[in-house]
């Protein structure tokens, strides 16, 4: 649909690999990547569930807290956004698979795979570069668990400090291992690109027309984000200022989120992915499909998230209204750009509410765990 516009500026290498295949079977490849992504999500979900169960056992909270498995894969596959991206032959499923590959590798401690996923995801769409922080946390301290502080308190209460039941401290070994592999893969990818792009101006030209194209929002074709209209309307002399502001908005939130959610690296990765898909220069429904799929990992933790019905209705409404407005404006000429922009605006607001409520729900969940441990009566709003 609307997300096809970013295709042209994807890396040349991808096209080199895909073009003979695409001629053979069009949507088969995209479909297969979606299925593989779903399987990886499921495997990661199982992984997370086991790890979380283990850490809950050590806190003796298994009875109170439920943990469920592979709903995320189902959410990913049955999401209409995924289906639309697949049918529309968008390349975002390929980018999504790279991101999921990275998280899967980090969760199951396959460090070369994680590094490969991270390098490819960064190479394809630049924004997943910030996933390096959750990946480092994942490799350093293992998958999501309640805050480490709780374990210490628990053991203080019992007055036995069983080291084996504590979650491991941050270990630098795997991180250095990851850095080494990431370096290796990126050199490999760059060399391959350099060889294939020798006659077209080399690597610098590639950086300019892929990352440069992403960072300086040059293409003003309508998509489901808000930046295209903003940069179509903004005065030329403010353009650079706003480009910096919007991209720094992503970077500014990295640190606070990393501090507050460091014990839950997978959730941190989800939040980062959601923020990126909200603030990126050319968002598409495929990006929303990814973070909505990842949301399935945390169904139990986010069970008492506020506004979930409102968000669901909002998503349904926007995904119905937005094509209608697009059609009215572009195809029939009866509508106005503002109608379509309004739906994009609502969509951005919905994503903001989702991220903010998701983060606060997760923090509340931690609070709830703490209250369970300290034996305080649980309050609905704590």
């Amino acid at each position: 649909m609307q997300d096809l516009c970013t295709m042209v500026h994807l890396c040349y290498c991808l096209f080199l690999v895909l073009s003979p295949l695409i001629e053979l079977k069009d949507s088969q490849i995209i479909f297969c990547t979606d299925v593989v992504s779903a399987m990886l999500i499921r495997a990661t979900g199982q992984n997370l569930r086991l790890a979380y169960l283990r850490s809950l056992e050590s806190l003796d909270l298994v009875k109170q807290i439920e943990v469920s498995g592979d709903i995320a894969a189902l959410i990913y596959l049955c999401n209409p956004f995924t289906i639309v991206a697949c049918v529309g032959l968008s390349t975002s499923p390929i980018e999504n698979m790279a991101v999921i590959l990275c998280l899967y590798g980090a969760c199951s401690r396959l460090i070369p795979l994680a590094a490969f996923g991270w390098v490819i995801a960064t190479h394809l769409s630049l924004y997943p570069a910030i996933l390096i922080i959750p990946v480092i946390f994942l490799l350093g301290c293992g998958p999501d668990s309640p805050p480490r502080k709780l374990f210490l308190q628990r053991h203080q209460q019992k007055e036995v400090l069983n080291q084996s039941k504590l979650p491991p401290r941050f270990s630098w070994g795997p991180v250095i291992h990851f850095a080494f592999w990431a370096f290796l893969w990126s050199v490999y990818v760059l060399v391959l690109c350099g060889i294939s792009l020798k006659q077209f101006g080399g690597l610098w030209e590639m950086f300019k027309s892929t990352y440069g194209f992403i960072l300086t929002v040059e293409d003003l074709s309508p998509n489901i984000g808000v930046l295209w209209y903003f940069f179509a309307e903004v005065f030329e002399f403010f353009r650079n200022f706003f480009l910096i502001v919007f991209h720094v908005n992503i970077l500014f939130m990295i640190l606070p989120l990393a501090i507050r959610l460091r014990h839950r690296p997978c959730y941190l990765a989800f939040v980062y992915v959601a923020i990126c898909s909200m603030l990126k220069s050319y968002p598409s429904v495929g990006d929303s499909a990814l973070y909505l799929g990842l949301l399935g990992w945390f169904v139990n933790e986010l069970a008492d998230m506020q506004f979930s019905l409102f968000l669901f209705c909002g998503y349904v409404g926007v995904s119905l209204l937005s094509p209608v407005m697009h059609n009215l404006w572009i195809w029939r000429g009866t509508g106005n750009a503002n109608f379509y922009f309004a739906t994009a605006m609502v969509y951005a607001c919905l994503q903001i509410v989702l991220v903010v409520e998701g983060v606060s729900a997760m923090l509340n969940h931690d609070r709830k765990l703490r209250n369970l441990i300290t034996g305080k009566p649980q309050d609905a709003k704590s």
Partner: protein, 667 residues
């Protein structure tokens, strides 16, 4: 010492000055011995089958190569020679056109349409005699200069999105050519006046006296053209020789009112006209500076054949030719030329020549034509008639189609041109598309006689340079080889419409954007007319122009592409709304992340307020901050109930609102 040196210097100066003067004098003598600056003025009149009349003014001034220290010109316009010198122009053509040449009824094969039918608006191309890296800068300066010289917005061709560098499809093929068009440029008298200023007699004497502005701009088509070639290399201080050719082609309809008043039987007769009835003026003598000053009246092949067919004899070149049974000329021609027919058909154009020298103020020249019998004929057509149109609806994508239809007359050429069976017709297509029309060159499809054909079968050579957003336009050059028996061929190519920044839209954005004309040329066919000329002394540039071997060229229509427009009144709203949303994101996420701190502090304050006084409260606050929050963490009570309160207030308001609505609707 200084005193001594000064006279020496003076002496040196005087000597060199003398020497220089001598050289100049010598040079000028030499020059006069060789060549002079020359000026020719000519006018060609030709009736068209659809009751219209072509008037083609042709002025040529030439400056021979001269030494560079003599920047003085007698006849040649100084502005042009300076321009050629400064920008190292080798060849240049600038045309201002209003209206569209009707290839179907005005013909497309003669030298006049193939070199004077131009696309609407401004077309400029120039070949530079400079190193490759300087050419773009020279082009930019040239456009600005021409813009000032001709009071037109040619300077818009300066931006790299507006011009292109065709590789080989444009006639003087070289890498040093730049080509640009402005289809929407309005052409009017303010462009004609500077153009006339380049003539030595302006419009005060000679043939240019006829240029009466209202009657020119009332015409169906007018195109003023300026073509210059600099000959000779500019080496060793010699200025290049320049030939400047200025033409004005106007298609007029002679007194249509009178024709409608005439009774029915006369309706089929071609209208009678005279120079004074068309232009409201007569030629009172020649421009004294002109070498030759002639008026020609051309009857084209089709018309001559038709007349001969009617009268069964060669009346046109008989003794009393100007009053023959078909038509009557009001003036006696001085000479008759008959075209040297190269084709097997014996049809040949006939050209009557009138010399203006014989006429004067007291006896002005006025040529009139009076038709006696109705005549119907066809002008000679190009082998294929090219037209172009848009396909698709909506503002997201579309397709350009170039259709080539064979004309009836083409079969005759085919038969004569090729004797073998594998006869092929070569067609060159040159198309420039602006960057906001994003053409997908892979989607090029070819249909020959309504049958889809493989692109590689038809297209012999292709050169494509894809457009870059806001940098350069897309250029497509094709060489097609079609079978001679082709009746129609269609090329289609798909495109996506781009979205522009609000400042990039022209003032009337909803009108749409113009895609410049495509150029379709037939390199195997040459528009050429050779007239038997006895006297080489009195040669005419117009006739020698006719004899040049130039390929037949035609321009397609300009396309109007509507593009989607944003709301032009919205910039402030969009900026504020978007920024609000981003501020909402930033603020609320940060708030969610640091909420625990606030809660704990509030709790701390509550507890402290109960137990202690004011100063210890502050101290504890400070301590709590310094020591970190985790110590108090476990004691943190459930959060304050303010949120619940606000929520219950909200609920109450909501219920009240619902109740009010209920009341309103059901009462």
């Amino acid at each position: 010492m200084a005193l001594l040196r000064r006279p020496l210097l003076l002496l040196l100066l005087i000597v060199t000055h003398q020497f220089l003067q001598f050289r100049i004098a010598f040079g000028s003598v030499n020059e006069e011995g060789l060549k002079q600056e020359e000026f020719y003025e000519e006018l060609l009149l030709k009736p068209f089958p659809d009751r219209k009349l072509l008037t083609h003014f042709h002025f040529q001034s030439s400056a021979p190569p001269s030494t560079s220290n003599g920047h003085h010109h007698h006849l040649f316009p100084k502005a042009i020679s300076q321009l050629v010198l400064k920008f190292q122009v080798k060849e240049m053509e600038l045309s201002f056109t209003q209206g569209r040449w009707n290839y179907e009824s005005w013909g497309g094969f003669d030298p006049i349409p193939s070199s004077n039918a131009k696309p609407p608006g401004v077309e400029l191309w120039a070949v530079f005699d400079a190193p490759q890296h300087l050419i773009d800068a020279l082009w930019k300066n040239l456009t600005h200069t021409l813009s000032g010289l001709f009071c037109a917005s040619i300077n818009f061709l300066e931006s790299s999105t507006a011009y292109s560098a065709p590789e080989w499809s444009f006639p003087p093929a070289s890498g040093k050519l730049r080509y640009g068009t402005l289809p929407r440029e309005a052409v009017c008298t303010e462009n004609l006046t500077p153009w006339l200023k380049l003539l030595p007699c302006r419009d005060k004497a000679g043939i240019s006296m006829l240029l009466d502005r209202p009657s020119i701009y009332r015409g169906f088509y007018h195109s003023q053209r300026l073509h210059l070639i600099s000959t000779g290399s500019c080496s060793e201080g010699m200025d290049p020789g320049i030939i400047l050719e200025q033409t004005l082609t106007v298609v007029l309809q002679p007194d249509s009112q009178r024709a409608s008043l005439a009774h029915a039987s006369e309706k089929h007769i071609q209208p009678r006209w005279s120079l004074s009835s068309i232009f409201g003026k007569r030629i009172s003598g020649r421009c004294v500076l002109a070498e030759t000053s002639n008026v020609y009246f051309l009857l084209d092949r089709g018309l001559v054949a038709e007349l001969e067919h009617i009268h069964k004899e060669n009346v046109l070149i008989s003794e009393k030719f100007w009053t023959n049974p078909s038509f009557e000329l009001s003036a006696k021609p001085d000479r008759i030329f008959i075209e040297e027919s190269r084709l097997l058909s014996k049809n040949a154009s006939v050209l009557y020549k009138f010399e203006i020298e014989k006429y004067s103020e007291s006896e002005p020249f006025d040529l009139g034509l009076f038709w006696k019998t109705p005549v119907v004929w066809l002008c000679q057509q190009a082998p294929l008639h090219a037209s172009r149109f848009l396909m698709g609806s909506g503002n997201e994508r579309g397709a350009i189609a170039i259709s080539l239809k064979s004309t009836q007359s083409s079969e005759a050429f085919m038969g004569s041109n090729s004797n073998d069976e594998r006869c092929e017709l070569r067609v060159d297509v040159f198309q420039v598309v602006p960057w906001y029309v994003k053409v997908y060159f892979h989607s090029l499809q070819v249909f020959v006689d309504q049958q889809p054909k493989a692109v590689s079968d038809i297209i012999e050579k292709i050169h494509v340079s894809p457009s870059k957003d806001k940098v350069s336009p897309g250029v497509m050059e094709l060489v097609l080889t079609l079978p001679c028996s082709v009746s129609s061929a269609v090329l289609t190519i798909e495109f996506d419409k781009g979205f522009l920044h609000i400042d990039e839209y022209p003032p009337d954005a909803n009108q749409g954007f113009d895609i410049p004309s495509a150029i379709v040329s037939f390199p195997n066919f040459h528009a050429r007319m050779v007239f038997l000329e006895n006297d080489s002394l009195n040669k005419s540039p117009l006739l020698s122009k006719f004899q040049e071997k130039s390929p037949v060229m035609s321009y397609t229509e300009v396309l109007l592409v509507p593009l989607t427009t944003p709301d032009f009144s919205m910039p402030y709203n969009v900026i504020t709304i978007t920024c609000t949303v981003f501020a909402l994101y930033f603020g609320s996420l940060l708030n969610a992340l640091r909420r625990r701190v606030a809660e704990e502090e509030r709790f701390l304050k509550d507890k402290a307020a109960k137990k202690m006084g004011r100063i210890p409260l502050l101290l504890t606050k400070l301590f709590a901050k310094l020591r970190g929050r985790h110590l108090e963490g476990p004691q943190a009570p459930p959060a304050s109930s303010s949120f619940i309160n606000s929520k219950s207030v909200l609920k109450v308001i909501l219920i009240a609102g619902l109740a009010a609505c209920w009341q309103y609707y059901f009462s």
